[in-house]
Structure formats: structure tokens, C-alpha cells
């Protein structure tokens, strides 16, 4: 395995109970520091793929390797590996019974057994960076969607993940809040964070991606640099998909 490769999947397959194949022989690798954006129509399997990467969902067959370890979902070290692969969801999922600071500190303190005072310092620095330093003691319900999502990103970063998986993190947001969240992601990308991003924001995908994967019906149909993919898509399905984002003037 290449030293630079941090995550690698081989021939992942997964079907739902009704026989629908969501992942069809997906072979994929991710280098350290790389930002991969996965796009595709709804139901193409991109979110499922992301959730399989940190084993929130089981696969039917195939292997997932993190560095040189094969990840086995039945194995105890799944919990340890999930700390190294952070994830942010579409619906933010902050814990409503905890303040923002406690949301962020819960896992570092309880899972990683770090000193609360030390992590609190780090949390405050990160909150400041995403422009939310005045929100430490409020509850999630008092925040807007965009603010909640920025907190969710901070919460994931606090675990010091080596990879961050972002699953349509702006899909539930009002348009004016999308930017404040994506700006944070762009900054992370600049700092060299390794990320796999599922999104419907094409402009953002083009700006942030080192590589674009186009999925349809459980298959990676096309793969390439953002310039190649957006300017001259090779497959008919990718062309059709990208055309949906264009409107002709009257």
C-alpha cells in the first residue's frame, strides 16, 4: 500500500433488503491531505458510501483499510477508528440537552479521557475561528442552522480526526447560511485536512475538490479533477446531471 494512501476501499458491495443495490463494486482510495467530492443524483449511494467508510453501516462484501489496518465492523477497534474518521451530518445532530461547549467537550472528555480544562481551551479557540466564541454557554435550539452546523464541524474536529467525512452538510440550510459553513470547510481544505465531501453545491465542489467522483446507481461512473469533470464530462450520465444545474435564458 502506498504510504500516502490513508483510506482505501476494495470492491465494496451493499444491497438493501428489497434487493436494491446501493454500492456496486466500489474501489476507492484517498491520499493524505486530499479533498474528494462525491456528487450524483439523490439515491445514487453517495451518502451510504460515506456512512460505510466509518462503519455506521455494514457492507455486504469488500474491504475498507485505514492506513494498513483492515477495518472490521465486528471488531472492537471500530470505536477507536471512528475517532480518526470524523463525520458531520446533514441534520447537524447536536445534543439538545447539552450546551454548545458541552456538546463539543463530551467526546474528547468521555471517549478520549482528555483533561476538561485543556480541551476547553482548544474548543474555545476553534469556536473563535468559526466565529461563535460568544455561544459557548447557549443550547443548540438557540442557534441558527448555519451556526449549529459550524458547531458540529468543531465537535468533529475536537477529536483530532485524520479524515473528515461531510455528508450534505448544507442541504438542510437556508441559502444565506450555506456560505458561512462552506467557508469553514474551504479553510480546512487549505490547511490540508483530508476530506470526503458529499454535496449538491457545484460551485463549492469545484472550488474545494482535488478530485471529483460522480456516482449513479451505486457505481462510480466518472472520476477526475474538478476542471476535467465540470468543463468536459466524459459520460452521458454526468453530462445530463450537470445540465440540470443550468438554466437557459428566455
Amino acid at each position: 500500500m502506498n504510504v500516502e494512501e490513508i483510506l482505501k476501499t476494495e470492491q465494496l458491495n451493499k444491497s438493501y433488503e428489497n434487493g436494491l443495490k446501493v454500492l456496486n463494486d466500489i474501489t476507492f482510495s484517498l491520499k493524505k491531505g486530499e479533498v474528494v467530492v462525491i456528487i450524483g443524483p439523490s439515491g445514487c449511494g453517495k451518502s451510504t458510501f460515506l456512512r460505510c467508510l466509518n462503519m455506521l453501516e455494514p457492507v455486504d462484501s469488500g474491504t475498507i483499510r485505514f492506513k494498513d489496518r483492515v477495518i472490521d465492523r465486528a471488531n472492537k477497534d471500530v470505536y477507536e477508528l471512528r475517532q480518526k474518521i470524523g463525520m458531520v451530518f446533514q441534520s447537524y445532530d447536536l445534543f439538545p440537552h447539552l450546551t454548545i461547549l458541552d456538546n463539543i467537550l463530551l467526546a474528547p472528555v468521555k471517549v478520549q479521557k482528555r483533561e476538561r480544562s485543556e480541551v476547553a481551551k482548544e474548543a474555545e479557540d476553534l469556536l473563535k475561528r468559526v466565529g461563535l466564541s460568544d455561544k459557548t454557554n447557549v443550547y443548540p435550539r438557540q442557534l441558527s442552522g448555519g451556526q449549529k452546523q459550524r458547531v458540529a464541524i468543531v465537535r468533529a474536529l475536537m477529536m483530532h480526526p485524520e479524515i473528515l467525512l461531510l455528508d450534505e452538510i448544507t442541504a438542510a440550510l437556508d441559502p444565506e447560511m450555506v456560505r458561512e459553513v462552506l467557508q469553514v470547510v474551504l479553510e480546512l481544505a487549505r490547511e490540508g485536512m483530508t476530506m470526503v465531501i458529499v454535496t449538491h453545491e457545484m460551485e463549492f465542489a469545484r472550488a474545494v475538490a482535488d478530485r471529483v467522483l460522480f456516482m449513479d446507481q451505486g457505481v462510480v461512473v466518472e472520476e477526475g479533477s474538478p476542471e476535467e469533470f465540470f468543463n468536459s464530462p466524459q459520460t452521458e450520465r454526468a453530462k445530463q446531471f450537470l445540465n440540470m444545474f443550468h438554466y437557459e435564458a428566455r
Binding site: H97, A107, V111, A152
Partner: protein, 225 residues
């Protein structure tokens, strides 16, 4: 002046006796509620099982308890145990058994609906942060479940306090029974005793139950926003 009957309350230690009677009612309710909460938590978790057979039996238990009047259950346990099992339960023990049997079912259903009302994403973001199953329940799911449960738990407790008045019928001397004794003992001297005694008992129940139902309403409102 005409004898009003109110003096019955202050004759001898009548007033104190009523309070002691109320204490017996409360004790039965609180002990039953304690066991109901412990067992109901477990039962509620079992009720969320995906196994169809397990769900069927949980449902059967719940519906049986709901359909049967508590009085019938009390008679069944109190007299049934004596006659068929040759066990002589005290009225108090029979009452705790029956109210726990009932409370566990009701509490379990509350726990089940609270658990099911927590979005599946709450579990997943817990797992994604590296928590194991126990950690997810302990730090994320159970604290939220308890918050959602508190108002309905209070309501169940007040229902239980009120329902304890049934135990008169299996010979437990609680507040209603004490009241009857006072009335019976002065049937000829104070004919209007019933009004005063039952009036006081009414106020006593109110004094105990109102704070609980008020707390439930406040909690419910607080948790809503």
C-alpha cells in the same frame, strides 16, 4: 348554635390519624412507583426490540393491564394468592405488587415512546464520535429520554396516588379507611361528619397531587421551548 360537624376533625387525634392514613397511601404509591420506574425502564427498552414475538408479548402485557380494572387485579392477587397458592399476602404487599405490575406496564410504554422519539441520528452522531453502545446510551440517549419522560412520569405518579384509595377494599387502613372509621364512630353524635371528613381528604389528595401535576405542566412547557 347548631352542631356543624367541623369539630369532628379536632376531636381526639382525628386530624393526625387522617395524616397518618395519607402517609400510608403515599407510601404505597411511592414504593410502587419506585419499582415501576426501575422495571419500566427495562420493560421500555425491551419494547423497542425489533423481534416481533417479543413485541407481541410486550403488547399483550400492556393491553391486559390497561383493560383490567386495578380493583380486579387487586382482588385477584389478594384473594387469589390466598385461595389458590396458599400465600397470605398482607394488603399492603398485594397493593404494591398490583400497582407495580400496572405501573411497570404504563412506565414501560412511556419509556418506549420516549426512546422512539429520539431521532436515529442522535445515536449515529454518538457512534461517529467514537462512543460505544453503552456510552451512547449513558451520555446521549438516556439523559434526553429522562427529560422527555419527567412530565408523563409525574402524571403517572399522581394517578398512582389516587388509585391507592382502592386498597381500602382489601383491608389496608389508609386515609379513606381512617375517614370512614371516624365517620362511623361518630355516626350518632356528629351526623354531618362525612362532609367534613371527606372534604378534608379531598383537600389532602389535592395538596399532594397538585404540586406533582403542576411540576409536570411546568416541565412540559419548559421542555417544549
Amino acid at each position: 348554635m347548631q352542631n356543624l360537624g367541623i369539630q369532628i376533625l379536632f376531636q381526639g387525634n382525628n386530624f393526625l390519624r387522617l395524616w397518618v392514613g395519607l402517609w400510608v397511601s403515599l407510601k404505597l404509591a411511592v414504593i410502587s412507583m419506585f419499582f415501576s420506574i426501575c422495571l419500566g425502564m427495562l420493560f421500555g427498552m425491551v419494547m423497542t426490540s425489533t423481534n416481533k414475538l417479543v413485541r407481541f408479548f410486550c403488547r399483550l402485557y400492556l393491553e391486559t393491564v390497561r383493560i383490567m380494572p386495578q380493583l380486579v387485579l387487586l382482588f385477584l392477587v389478594y384473594f387469589g394468592a390466598a385461595k389458590h397458592l396458599n400465600v397470605n399476602l398482607s394488603g399492603g404487599t398485594a397493593a404494591v405488587l398490583v400497582f407495580t405490575f400496572w405501573g411497570t406496564a404504563e412506565m414501560g410504554d412511556l419509556v418506549r415512546s420516549a426512546l422512539e422519539s429520539i431521532p436515529v441520528h442522535q445515536y449515529q452522531s454518538g457512534y461517529a464520535l467514537g462512543f460505544g453502545k453503552i456510552g451512547v446510551y449513558r451520555h446521549i440517549i438516556i439523559p434526553q429520554t429522562i427529560r422527555r419522560l419527567l412530565p408523563s412520569m409525574m402524571n403517572l405518579l399522581t394517578r398512582m396516588v389516587k388509585t391507592t384509595s382502592l386498597v381500602v377494599l382489601i383491608g389496608v387502613i389508609e386515609v379513606v379507611k381512617v375517614g370512614k372509621q371516624i365517620i362511623d364512630a361518630s355516626r350518632y353524635t356528629v351526623p354531618d361528619a362525612a362532609l367534613w371528613v371527606y372534604g378534608v381528604i379531598f383537600i389532602m389528595y389535592f395538596a399532594v397531587c397538585y404540586p406533582f401535576s403542576r411540576a409536570a405542566a411546568l416541565l412540559d412547557k419548559k421542555l417544549r421551548d
